[in-house]
Every structure is written in structure tokens, then in C-alpha cells.
Assembly symmetry: C2
Homo-oligomer: 376 residues x 2
DNA sequence: GTTAGCACTCGTCACATCAGAGTGCTAATC
DNA sequence: GATTAGCACTCTGATGTGACGAGTGCTAAC
């Protein structure tokens, strides 16, 4: 039940036109604008067939046709061609990312900003899931009588710290000793691994076996590990969607905004998507059935995986947007290659890299499961 | 030109009614609902006078009256009475804040959530401006060949760290030495102070005088100080406003949402407001002229000042909301009293307190200037 | 000073009308 | 057999109209 060449042409014309103008497209305008060498009547007949096959829908009898999710899927899988980014967009991406290259979280945020500016859609970017991150060392530092800082450093340079207050006496030496012990115990293990095994052990029952000091530190240690697993989510351009006719009704706009109010839930959803450029259209999404969601992944040190994405109505410029996202994620991955110590001479510093040290509106990552159609 | 007792009664009745129902209120309904002992005609006459004095407006001839900003101001300053929170709300606040008492940023976020849940408005909360924070110590830790961590700890337990990569060779000892030197140099000075003086000095020109190692570290040190000055902003309940008739038009809703898209700008604005409970109504705001903005401040360790706030239409329950905010900020300030090392016996741990260590969508705080009317 | 009565204003809602866009079908044409 | 012209039909959206109701503002009476 393949489509004829002419049907494909007509379908592509309808998609192009509808993506551009957001209005149901009629047979006459197709015939006029796209030189297919046939009359409107013929196009009407083909459209009728395409509708029967599920590629087009009809808001009402006397309106033109609108592409269905199925049509967009066909377009994304088979019809669309990779677009070359404009020089302007390329320059913009390069410049803006370069400006903040040395600060990890800021770079990620800029990526989200860029994405929403270029696509005029809502976008997001998240820092990598760190399930696979392994512990490099643990350090305890005294601040004050009763107050100390617990610091966990990951192999990829992630740092997370907690200020904790305890009633157990300690000295510089006892802290150093505990730091060393803990480092020896946990070094090289993944955060997930440590967290699971330690929680199962039920620290509480074990406390007598530990030093009093360690017993005081352990609960915070576990919570800090959890913090470290957190993913930061940056959202940009949410209000762009107000410009789209799809969201001219207050209810639609409201639904859209409420999606993002639950950042935690949203983060989970996004983490669960496959790697690479993934496009899910309309009904293919389990929640936002009238949106298209495109996500792409970048790598840190070739290992940890972070995500960026755009969300908009199913009517969007799939070709441009996927190309932009590919370019952007390649650029990001390139930025985040840990090159090891270079030996470039000269200037004293400096590529420094603010670690992922914070605890904002995030959730723990859960790694990759599958619920999405893959771009074929 | 004082208002008569009866005029005040009528004005109060109109405000109460309008706040409740969001519809222009007519003389007849006032006479019926609020037993003022006079006829609608009399009320009409008084309303006409009140309008002339600027307390009421008239959307059109045959509609009822609506309170003006001036009326709300009068109400807030003179008419409204403090409300007692419901036991339910109090319990909710106490419980929810207690649950996260030991984690600073999370507590702040919960405060914003509570505020939007209880008031059904959009709310925000920000971590304290740390201009006045003083440096406690500085520490450099080796991670790897070429990679090290710079950590700055403030007197109030704030911790900020940066992972930096340098080409200069170092040993554990040289890092320790530099840590000590820097600590001696900067200990006890405020972040602002250090930042200003060091930037004026123009580090670059000074580098030869320093060790190569210190020269490599200084730029990151300054940037980390800047990070430390950042204020975290949490926003909640933005979508609540869709429930309000004031925002049933897409354009109004859009304007509202766009306000918050620029987090940095918004943070600046909010930091600039006076301390305490501050109410600015409609035109009293320079930007959001059709909104009321209520902010309140809490203290950390009786010193650092953070802010929470709600934003909504000028039509809001001023009495309830200001009372809630007072209760909430008192509760927060109480939570964040650093009590020094307590000597409660028993349980090993644990009041730990995640430091303000992150670098999300924030701006540096600029302290308190004045642009707001004060609650009388 | 207060009130009843009444004319007047204005916005909203329901309903009818009309133009325009586009289809679907039929019959003619290539 | 595929294509096309022609035409009736459908549906939406814009425009206009009239009835209704809420509320005022004024005047005259209490």
C-alpha cells in the first residue's frame, strides 16, 4: 500500500504549506503554488485517497486538509532532507557557546537559550545523568566548632558538598583519617551503586560498629550522594508558544505551561528517552498528545549523557530543527571533551569548569529506558 | 478631605465584595448583603462621591463600581485587620518546613511552594543576598594531574566551589601553602569587598609578583566569588493565574508569564525592595502596573536577608496574604537561626545544612535600595 | 439628608444573514 | 481509464439586529 510518487509530492506540498501558514490547505492553492502539472480536481481526488489512508484530516467538510501525525512521521522518516544551518545561526551557536565554554552549567543553559531563540519554540537542556559517575575522593573539612563540610568529588570533576553540623568532637586529624577511610571504601564505585548498597545496609543499625564521627557523617553522606545524582533542568522560551496559533486559546496555553510546572516529573520523562535525536509526534507521546517533542543528547567526556530538547505543536519545521539540534549537540560534546592536561605553553591559566554542584529543582536520573519511536 | 465613617464602610464593603467575586459591584447588592441601614440610592450617592475622590472607578456607565489602586492602598494602610491563619494552614507550614529544615535551598523552595498553594497566586522565594557574607577560608584540592578544586567557605557556612584546570605543576604541599596564604589574605573580608578591590587591582598586571600557581588560580577565584554572590530564585504557581478572571485574556496571561521569563531582571527588581512586608499596588509598581506585589524578608543567622513574595492582580486578599507571609517568614527566620553547637545529648547527628553552592539562573544581589511604598 | 421612581446607558447574548473557501460529485474530455 | 471543468452543497466567520438585564443618575417626594 505504498504511496505513488505524485501522492508523496502532494503530501509534501501540504506539509510544507501547513507548517508555514498554520491553515488547512486546499486543493486550489496547492495547484497554484506547487507546480505539479495537474488540476485542483486531480489533487482533490488524491487528497481524498490520502485522507482515507490516514495521512490527512479534515477539520470540517468545507475546510482544506491538515497533515496527521502519521503524515509527519512519514515526512520525518522518509521525506525530509537535512538542512544546512545558515551561517548566521552557526556563528551564533559557536560564539555563544564559546563565551561560556569554561562553565559547565552556564554552557548548558546557553544551549537551551540558543535553541529557543533559533527555533522560536520552548526548549530545555539538562545536565548529564550521573548514575554512571564514579567517586574519586571524599573530603571532610572543619569550618567551625560543630560545623564541617563534606565534599564528594567524582571522576569527571563533579563536586557536591554539604555543610553539616554535628555534636561529636573531632580534630583535623580525625577528619583526615575518616576522609581517607571513606575514600578507600568508596573510590571507583558508582554513585548509584554506593547509594543502593548503603541504604540497604540500613546505616542506623550499623552505627555502633563505626566510629561515632563516621556515624554522624553517614546520613549526610548518603544525602549528598543523592544530590549529586540530581540533574539540572533549564527551560527557556516557554512564552514563545504564545505566538503560535495553536496556543491562541487560553486553555491550550494553560495546559502547555502546566506541563513544565512539574519540573521533576518532566525531568524524569526526558531522562527516559533514548539517546540521539529522537522525534515523537503527537499521539506517539503518552502525555502531550498534541505536541511534538524532539530531544537530542550530548556527551561529557564521551561518557556521561545530557539532553536538550524542544517542544512545540506537531506543526513544526522538522528538517531545520533536527539539523540545528544535531549541530548544537555535536558542538556541546566537543566542548565537553576532557582533553586531559594539555601542554599548550604560554598563558598561565585556564580552562576551568564549574562542577555540577547544586541542588535546584531536580530529580535523580534513572537512565535510559525506551518509550519512544526512533528516528528511522 | 477625610472619608466619613459611612464612606469607609461602603468602601470596605465594595472591596470585600469585589475581591470575592471579581465583578463590579452595584449599589443594590451592597445594600442587600451588607447591612448598612441605608438604601441603594444613598449608597449610590456616596459611591459617586468616592469615585470623584478617586477611590472607585467605573468600567462603563451601566456597570457597578470597582476599587481603584488608591482604594486598595487605603484598605491596606488603614482598614484591613490582621487575619489569624487557619489551624490547617499553620500546620501545613510548620510540617512542610520542618520536613526540610536541614537543607537550606530546599527549605526556601518549599516556602515558595507553600505560599503559592495557600494563596493560589504566583509566588517566589530567593536565597539571601550574600554581599555581607565574609570569607572564612579558602582551600585548594588536587583531583587529578592538571585538575583541581577551588573551594571558598563563608562564615555562615556558604560553600562554593569550582573545578579548574591549569597547566602549572603543583604538589599537595604547594596547594596547601597557597590555600593558607589566600586564607590569611582574605579571611574576614566580605565578598563584595574582595571582589571590588581585586578587580580594580587588575590581576593580570600583578601576576609576575605572584607565584605562577597563584596566578593561575586567581581568575577562577574571582569568578567563584561572583558565583557565591548569586541569589537563587525559585518560582512556583505561575499557572495559578490562569484561574483568575483577570488573566482570561491570552494577552494578559502572556504578559504575566513573560515577566518571569527574565529571571535575572526579576531577581534584581526584587532585591531592590525594602525589608519587611512590603505591598506595592498597581501603579505603585514601575513595571507590572496592573499587579500587586507583596514581598517579605526572612533572616539567616539574624543577618543575611532573603526574600519571598507573591504576585497577582490588584484584586487579592490583602489581609490573609500579608498574615500568611508574616507567619511564614517568621518561621523561616526561626529555622535559620544558627544556634551554635547545641549540646543536646543522644542521637549522633545531625542538623546539616546544604550550603548555597550553586550557579543556576541567578544574578548578583545588589542590596536594598528603595523604590517601594511602605506598608503603613 | 434620605429615598422611591423612572428614564437612560451600555454590554451581553441569541439569532439571522451573508460571503468565502473548499469539498464532492457528475459528466465531459483527453 | 485518468483527468478535468462545472456546479451544488457545506461549513465557518464576520456582521448586524433586537431583546434583556444590570446599574446608574437625576428628580421629586418624604
Amino acid at each position: 500500500m505504498d504511496l505513488s510518487e505524485r501522492q508523496l509530492q502532494i503530501l509534501q506540498a501540504i506539509i510544507t504549506d501547513y507548517v508555514e501558514n498554520a491553515e488547512p490547505v486546499g486543493s486550489r492553492s496547492i495547484a497554484k503554488k506547487y507546480d505539479l502539472g495537474v488540476s485542483p480536481a486531480t489533487i482533490r481526488n488524491e487528497m481524498s485517497d490520502l485522507e482515507e489512508m490516514g495521512y490527512l484530516t479534515h477539520p470540517h467538510t468545507s475546510a482544506g486538509r491538515v497533515p496527521s501525525d502519521k503524515a509527519y512521521r512519514l515526512y520525518v522518516n522518509n521525506l525530509m532532507q537535512k538542512k544546512n544551518l545558515s551561517a548566521k545561526d552557526k556563528r551564533m551557536i559557536n560564539d555563544r557557546l564559546a563565551a561560556s565554554r569554561d562553565e559547565f552549567d552556564r554552557t548548558i543553559r546557553h544551549a537551551a537559550e540558543l535553541l529557543s531563540e533559533i527555533t522560536n519554540l520552548a526548549s530545555f537542556a539538562m545536565t548529564p545523568a550521573t548514575n554512571e559517575e564514579t567517586i574519586s575522593f571524599i573530603r571532610l573539612l572543619p569550618v567551625d566548632k560543630g560545623t564541617l563540610i563534606l565534599m564528594i568529588v567524582g571522576e569527571s570533576g563533579n563536586v557536591t558538598n554539604t555543610t553539616l553540623r554535628i555534636n561529636v568532637p573531632y580534630t583535623q586529624d580525625s577528619l583526615d583519617l575518616l576522609s581517607k577511610n571513606m575514600t578507600v571504601t568508596y573510590k571507583g564505585r558508582t554513585l548509584d551503586d554506593v547509594l543502593k548498597s548503603e541504604i540497604i545496609k540500613d546505616v542506623g543499625s550499623d552505627i555502633e560498629a563505626m566510629s561515632q564521627l563516621q556515624g554522624s557523617v553517614m546520613p549526610s553522606f548518603l544525602r549528598t550522594l543523592e544530590d549529586m545524582l540530581n540533574v539540572n533542568l533549564y527551560m527557556e522560551g516557554m512564552t514563545n508558544i504564545f505566538d503560535l496559533p495553536e496556543y491562541s486559546s487560553i486553555d491550550r496555553a494553560r495546559d502547555f505551561m502546566e506541563l513544565f510546572a512539574q519540573k521533576d516529573w518532566f525531568t524524569q520523562k526526558m531522562l527516559a528517552r533514548d539517546n540521539g535525536v529522537v522525534v515523537t509526534i503527537g499521539d506517539e507521546n503518552d502525555t502531550v498528545k498534541d505536541c511534538t517533542l524532539i530531544t537530542a543528547t550530548y556527551h561529557v567526556d564521551g561518557k556521561l549523557v545530557g539532553k536538550i530538547g524542544v517542544i512545540g505543536p506537531t506543526r513544526m519545521k522538522y528538517d531545520e530543527i533536527t539539523s540545528i539540534m544535531e549541530y548544537l549537540t555535536n558542538n556541546l560534546s566537543e566542548s565537553f571533551k576532557l582533553t586531559g592536561s594539555t601542554d599548550s605553553p604560554g598563558d598561565a591559566a585556564i580552562s576551568d569548569n564549574t562542577g555540577n554542584t547544586d541542588n535546584t529543582d531536580n530529580t535523580r536520573g534513572t537512565g535510559n529506558t525506551n518509550n519512544t519511536e526512533d528516528k528511522g
